[in-house]
Amino acid sequence: MIAGVPGTGIGGIYYILLALMMPVQETCRLCTHRSSIERWMQVAAQTGNALGILITAWLTGWLLIHTFGALRIHGLGTHSQAVKTIENIVSVSTFHLALVVLGSVILSVHILRLLIPARKLPKSTISRVNA
């Protein structure tokens, strides 16, 4: 099953950032001899995906700004006003606002983690896992 609404909101940006962090993580693993060729291939595939998504998103924004700005869209005023409005929609909604919200959600989760203590596992579970 797929939970939520894939591709929308802050989830997309979250996964892009995680993918871009993978080479750093893997370099750390390499330093502690916990890396492998297979893992680097996985890292390369996902970092490539993330970069591809970022480039296509940037191209989409660029095309929108220049195509629709030039058309003086109804309700958006003059040409320069239209370009500015679309620039705002594209850049603010997709990146700046989403990054702030994403950071706030992650921070809130960590604060909650500190405020709410972990529940203790039954002894039988702990001994089984440690066995």
Binding site: M1, V5, G7, N49, T60, I89, V129
Partner: protein, 342 residues
């Protein structure tokens, strides 16, 4: 260790006469076959059990309908004598090397479950096409990243292999939520076990082909997700990476859905029709990983033709997830009846 693979396959089935034979044959044709295949005929009114018996597998029948897939699987769990247990839906077939690819993931004693790549068997209707893109996107981008950080969100219930001991220690599959696979995955994390996603192990379920079936499945999945968040949130807070993934999925479930269904229509009507673009502004970004994966499977045209359907399904998805949040969290009216989606 007993027999060939130390694996028993459980196939819960309720009125699956049209699909059960393909499922059983695909299990029997595995390069690494299981020791035993058990079909749990959950009091079907069709000839599901006869078809299964004719193919030489064990058929078990509970005294009355268990009411859910989890219930049917639990009924057979006590009969499992192998170290590993596989659950597969009765409308799902496997690539011939699926078990061979998946089972080594459990060599690590700290791993309790492993799941594979899921792709719709038929890609014809708008719903199947939407689901095809949704799976290509999620299983080629989201899930490998979750696996890299050692926390796949779900070991998919339609095809997963479990360590039998860990499964029994959990009391089998819980029936307390509508998404027993997510419940089990998070319970494993809580108990200190790991879960793996192996993209090379592929299965092909039959996805809902019309809105009637899709509606049932989306309702079950959406309510199941919210029920699991409600049930596990305290424990999830203390599971690294999973806490952020779940929080962000929940945030998007609520706020991206509100933006989709309320904010954007208001902007379109009162500000400018240009805001219509927001529904598909990320189409090229979604298309990138989808087309890369589709190209590796020689399915690029199928993916291109299916892309628009993804945006239809996503909009419908947002309605159901918002409805689930409203009913489960605000009205406190949980979904309790398990309706088969397909």
């Amino acid at each position: 260790m007993s027999g060939k693979s130390d694996l028993t396959v459980l196939v819960p089935a309720y009125n699956e006469a049209s699909t059960i034979a393909d499922t059983i044959r695909s299990i029997q044709d595995q390069i690494v076959p299981p020791d035993e295949i058990i079909v749990i005929d959950d009091c079907s009114s069709d000839n599901t059990a006869d078809i299964a018996r004719s193919l030489g597998v064990t058929v078990m029948r509970p005294p009355k309908n268990t009411g859910s897939k989890a219930g049917a699987q639990n009924f057979a769990l006590s009969s499992v004598r192998t170290g590993y247990t596989m659950a597969i839906d009765a409308d799902t077939t496997l690539a011939s090397d699926a078990i061979q690819k998946l089972i080594p993931a459990l060599d690590d004693p700290g791993i309790s479950a492993a799941c594979g790549l899921v792709l719709p068997r038929y890609v014809k209707s708008v719903w199947e096409r939407g689901r095809y893109i949704e799976y290509l996107f999620a299983f080629s981008f989201y899930k490998p990243i979750q696996d890299y950080y050692e926390r796949p969100l779900i070991s998919s219930g339609c095809f997963s292999i479990y360590r039998t001991e860990a499964l029994r220690a959990n009391g089998g599959w819980s029936t307390r939520t509508m998404a027993e696979d997510m419940d089990l995955t998070w319970s494993f994390y809580k108990a200190g076990y790991g879960v793996r996603f192996i993209p090379e192990a592929t299965c092909y379920p039959v996805e809902p082909h019309d809105f009637g079936f899709m509606k049932k499945q989306l309702r079950r999945w959406s309510h199941g997700f919210v029920q699991n968040v409600k049930l596990h949130w305290r424990d999830v807070l203390h599971i690294s990476f999973l806490r952020s993934t779940v929080a962000i999925a929940m945030w998007d479930a609520i706020f991206a859905s509100i933006a989709y269904l309320v904010l954007l229509p208001i902007l379109i009507v009162f500000v400018s029709p240009i805001f219509l673009l927001a529904y598909m502004i990320d189409a090229p970004a979604v298309a990138f990983p989808v087309l890369v994966k589709a190209a590796s499977r020689n399915e690029i045209w199928k993916a291109v033709a299916s892309l628009p359907s993804f945006f239809v399904l996503r909009t419908v998805n947002s309605i159901f997830i918002l409805e689930a949040v409203w009913k489960e969290l605000v009205l406190c009216r949980p979904l309790r009846v398990y309706e088969k989606g397909h």
